[in-house]
């Protein structure tokens, strides 16, 4: 073995893809794997033959032999030829070449693949080859490497894994390499997944548009396909046409780009609305409990954010327990955490009301201070117990991932939170409108003394409302644990925004809170691109400060004598 081969040992030896069986598996003769790989090889070979006819088999032999040379041009040509040949043996050869493991015997121009364990297989047949003798590695330069990259892309277009085919088509769309045209045509012909075929056709169109040799009519037709794709990549593609493009094609590209920009603007607005609704539902969850307590008792619960935090930590504890007791239940952990968080936060809320707020009846501003004190104690307690660092909360599998509607990316966790916020809102609305307790709560909100005179136990209503508001904050904590860091400061991050929602929406009814949360959420997301996140927030705060001057009791204020 000569020095140059040995130097090849050091280079990495990653495998490209399992299109044909790895040689090691063959040697050890593992029955089922061998049968499967044989089947795969046969299947691939079969449709390659159907596609291209028997001539290709001889081509393959000739192509592989072309590697046995010192000329970089020949090697690059062989790579290109091999990639478009559709041969099942193409991939291991190109992969070996990429990793510097393709060697040839100068005497008879036989080409071999050196495997990681230093044994050799014949590149042409895939059979193990003993006693190779003196070999030299096939040389690489940047030109060859480019050819290899393109070839790998072209080969991936035929890959059995749809994800690989998708990414390969996207790669061709971006590279617009006309060498991939033949492979693309072959791939389009046999592609059965309509989405991937569409991608491939778009990639083909991109190649044609970028190809100066293509006919003008073809290029303009291809521009049409790209316009239908209509995303940022398409826009970039149309914007990067070379200066030598004929004016007719250029015009078509420009008008297509204008069309794409118009559609994209609409989609972007839609995306902003979606993000806004998502933020709005988070605000709604965090603020709605606050709004109820404020409505009924006229006090702002400064410890409300800490109830949210406690809900999030309850989720953490529930998941820890599940992990040790019944790991199989991890996917439904949130459904166990929800009632737990409601109960824990609700119980703490009732305790706060009974122990502290009850004694401060009628002194709203003092209550504000006392609850601030409670919030400090709770924060520090959680910090002492669980530590100041973020806690890991697992996202169940059904809440990860995302779907795309047009150019709208919708992540599953955000969607789940929006749905959850709607459910909580609807349940609360039903509760307040349809149950006796809801009736009493509304009565106390409107006129505490009159409600008392009618025999409603207002102090029970107070305790219950405070518990309910805190419980809902706990539910919000479960939801927030999925999108935010679970740390002792979690509540602080949302509390001021929640106050804004409450004073903006007023305490007249829950719809005020809904409208306020959604307005602030969407306005925030629309201001962000223009003003930046921080400035957008400042503008909103200033807006609310000004708004309160116009309507000192919020959007949906209670009317009548009950107010003063």
């Amino acid at each position: 073995m000569n020095a140059s081969t040995r130097s090849g040992l050091d280079s990495g030896s990653g495998t490209l893809r399992p299109c044909s069986p790895p040689p090691a598996a063959r040697d050890k003769d593992i029955g089922p794997i061998r049968a499967l790989s044989a089947f795969l090889v046969a299947a691939l070979a079969a449709f390659v033959l159907i596609l291209a006819g028997p001539a290709r088999a001889q081509d393959h032999a000739a192509l592989v032999q072309r590697f046995a040379t010192e000329s970089f041009n020949d090697i690059a040509g062989a790579v290109n030829g091999l990639a478009t040949s559709g041969s099942p043996r193409a991939a291991p050869v190109i992969e070996a070449l990429r990793d510097g493991r393709l060697v040839y015997r100068a005497g008879d121009r036989q080409v071999f693949i050196r495997r990681p364990d230093n044994s050799f297989v014949n590149a042409l047949t895939g059979e193990p080859a003993a006693d190779v003798g003196t070999t030299r590695p096939v040389r690489l330069n940047n030109n060859v490497r480019r050819a290899i990259d393109a070839a790998v892309g072209a080969l991936s277009l035929l890959h059995p894994d749809p994800a690989r085919r998708t990414s390969a088509a996207e790669a061709v769309f971006k590279s617009r390499d006309s060498a991939a045209l033949a492979a693309l045509d072959a791939a389009i012909g046999q592609e059965r997944d309509p989405r991937i075929r569409k991608l491939m056709e778009e990639a083909r169109a991109a190649v044609v548009v970028a190809n100066p040799q293509a006919a003008e009519a073809d290029r303009i037709a291809a521009i049409g396909i790209i316009q239908r794709r209509g995303d940022q990549d398409a826009l970039a593609m149309l914007g990067s046409l070379p200066a030598t493009t004929p004016p007719l094609v250029r015009e078509a590209a420009e008008s297509a780009a204008v069309g794409i920009r118009r559609t994209l603007a609409v989609w972007e607005a839609g995306q902003n609305v979606w993000h806004g609704i998502s933020l709005g539902s988070v605000l709604l969850l965090a603020a709605i409990g606050l709004a109820i307590t404020f409505g009924v008792m006229g006090v702002i619960n400064m410890a409300h954010g800490e109830m949210v935090m406690i809900g999030a930590y309850t989720t953490f504890v529930v998941q820890q327990t599940i992990r040790t007791v019944a790991p199989g239940l991890m996917d439904v952990s949130l459904f166990i955490a929800l009632p737990m968080a409601f109960l824990v936060a609700g119980a703490i809320g009732v305790a706060i009301e009974r122990l502290i707020i009850r004694h401060l009846y009628g002194r709203a501003l003092e209550t504000l201070l006392a609850t601030w004190g409670v919030s400090l104690v709770l924060q520090q307690a959680v910090r002492t117990w669980f530590g100041p660092t973020n806690r890991e909360v697992t996202t169940p599998s059904w809440m990860s991932g995302s779907i795309e509607i047009g150019h709208l990316a919708i992540t599953a966790n955000r969607l789940a939170i929006i749905v959850f916020a709607i459910i909580v809102f609807a349940a609360l609305l039903l509760f307040l409108k349809r149950t006796p307790f809801g009736l009493q709560t509304r009565a106390v909100t409107q006129n505490r003394r009159m409600a008392g005179a009618m025999g409603i136990r207002t102090n029970w209503v107070d305790a219950f409302t405070f518990g309910l508001g805190s419980g809902i904050a706990g539910l919000a904590g479960v939801a927030l644990s999925q999108i935010d860091n679970v740390s002792p400061n979690l509540g602080q991050a949302y509390i001021i925004d929640s106050f804004m929602v409450v004073v903006f929406g007023g305490v007249g009814n829950l719809w005020g809170t809904l409208v306020a949360a959604m307005t602030l959420g969407i306005a925030n997301k629309f201001l962000e691109p223009y003003a930046g996140a921080v400035l957008g927030k400042i503008l909103l705060l200033v807006f609310i400060i000004l708004f309160i001057q116009k309507r000192p009791r919020g959007l949906f204020a209670l009317k009548g004598r009950a107010v003063e």
Binding site: L368, V377, A381, V534, I545, I548
Partner: protein, 381 residues
């Protein structure tokens, strides 16, 4: 003389004790610090001078808060904003005094501007190299902000919890704004690394002792102004507004004007406190705007006794002394203690330490004397 008449008629016994003690501190502390050798048991250490100087500015802030909360019933959760704005005005003056001694040795621009590749001073900084102008701004900027904010808020009759929440929004918005680098106030590093004030080295012990005395004098002046307001005729109306705002309005008083007056005076006081605070601690950054700071100032007043002025100053001193001690001894425990203090004071000491003490003193006096009708003034809700 007007002044002597004022002093003898309007200042109560507690006030006199307060003023005399402060006067003594203003003279004695610098003397004991500078003239008495460090080994002596009468020596006041340099750290103590710095620390107590800081407490004096806090006490002035507490009196400002007490003026609006204790006497006018406006619970401001944003007084820290006025304090910080005064501090920034002073900080800007001190920044420009550094001159070419900064790290980048730029003749006019402060370091952070050179770092941001700015070539000239932003408009907001013009004139701040002049001390009188900077001092004018110390009073004017918080005063103007309070005036505009109060003008809108009081005219639209924003009261109670709503007012508290929007004052919190105000200071929160300012905090976010000052954290931005392109605001031109140093971003989250704030302003620091000061060299001298009016040509005196800010690090030297003499300057620090003088700053301490000035803080004490400012506190005394703040107390006298606040006392003058609350014992005047207008003060009676202000207290009436606290106790029954609609009724005062129905009696024909322009409630919003009285509130606006007290509110603006209080903001200016807070601004002056901030201006004295900055040279003593050597830094001002946007976290001074954080809502938690403003709420902490409320608890000083609540602990000392709202509606007493002297109590507010006392509360500021006590709470901060406890804070210094706690953060040294049990860093974990401070938030527990502070939170517990909030709850304890609101539940069990609604009048604060001084209010409770005064009540006890009165009752003791009454039980000794044959009972006469004493019109105890109860601060109602």
């Amino acid at each position: 003389m007007m002044l002597t008449r004022f002093l003898f008629e309007r200042i109560d016994r507690g006030g006199w004790v307060f003023l005399v003690l402060l006067g003594l501190a203003a003279v004695l502390v610098p003397v004991l610090n500078l003239a008495v050798p460090p080994g002596s048991m009468f020596h006041v250490s340099n750290t103590a001078v710095g620390l107590w100087g800081k407490y004096m500015t806090y006490a002035l802030l507490a009196i400002a808060v007490d003026l609006v909360w204790g006497y006018c019933g406006i619970l401001s959760l944003g007084h820290g904003a006025f304090f910080a704005l005064g501090g920034y005005a002073m900080g800007m003056y001190l920044m420009l005094q550094i001159g070419p001694r900064g790290v980048y040795a730029h003749p006019t621009l402060p370091d952070f501007m050179v770092f941001l590749n700015w070539t000239e001073l932003p408009v907001a900084w013009w004139g701040f190299s002049s001390f009188p102008y900077a001092m004018l701004m110390v009073a004017l900027v918080p005063g103007l902000l309070a005036f505009v904010f109060g003008w809108f808020a009081f005219r639209s009759r924003v009261t109670g919890v709503y007012l508290s929440i929007i004052t919190q929004a105000l200071t929160y918005a300012l905090m976010l704004a000052f954290f931005r680098n392109d605001m031109g106030f140093g971003g989250n590093n704030g302003l620091t690394d000061f060299k001298d004030i009016l040509g005196f080295n800010i690090q030297s012990q003499t300057t620090r002792a003088v700053l301490f005395s000035l803080s004490v004098l400012a506190l005394m002046a703040g107390y006298l102004v606040a006392r003058a307001i609350v014992t005047s005729k207008a003060g009676k109306i202000i207290i009436a507004i606290r106790d029954a705002e609609p009724r005062t309005r129905f009696l024909g008083y322009r409630v919003e004007n009285f509130k606006l007056f007290v509110w603006t005076v209080s903001a200016v006081m807070a601004g002056i406190a901030g201006a004295l605070y900055v040279p003593q601690v050597g830094i001002i950054n946007p976290s001074e705007f954080s809502p938690a700071n403003s709420i902490e100032a409320i608890v000083w007043v609540a602990v000392g006794g709202r509606g007493t002025l002297v109590g507010a100053a006392l509360g500021a001193g006590l709470v901060n002394f406890a804070k210094s001690w706690f953060t040294g001894a049990f860093p974990q425990g401070w938030l527990f203690a502070l939170g517990g203090l909030f709850i304890f004071v609101t539940l069990f000491l609604p009048k604060g330490i001084l209010g409770t003490f005064t009540d006890w003193w009165k009752r003791r006096g009454e039980s000794r004397k044959p009972p006469t009708a004493s019109p105890a003034s109860q601060p109602a809700e």
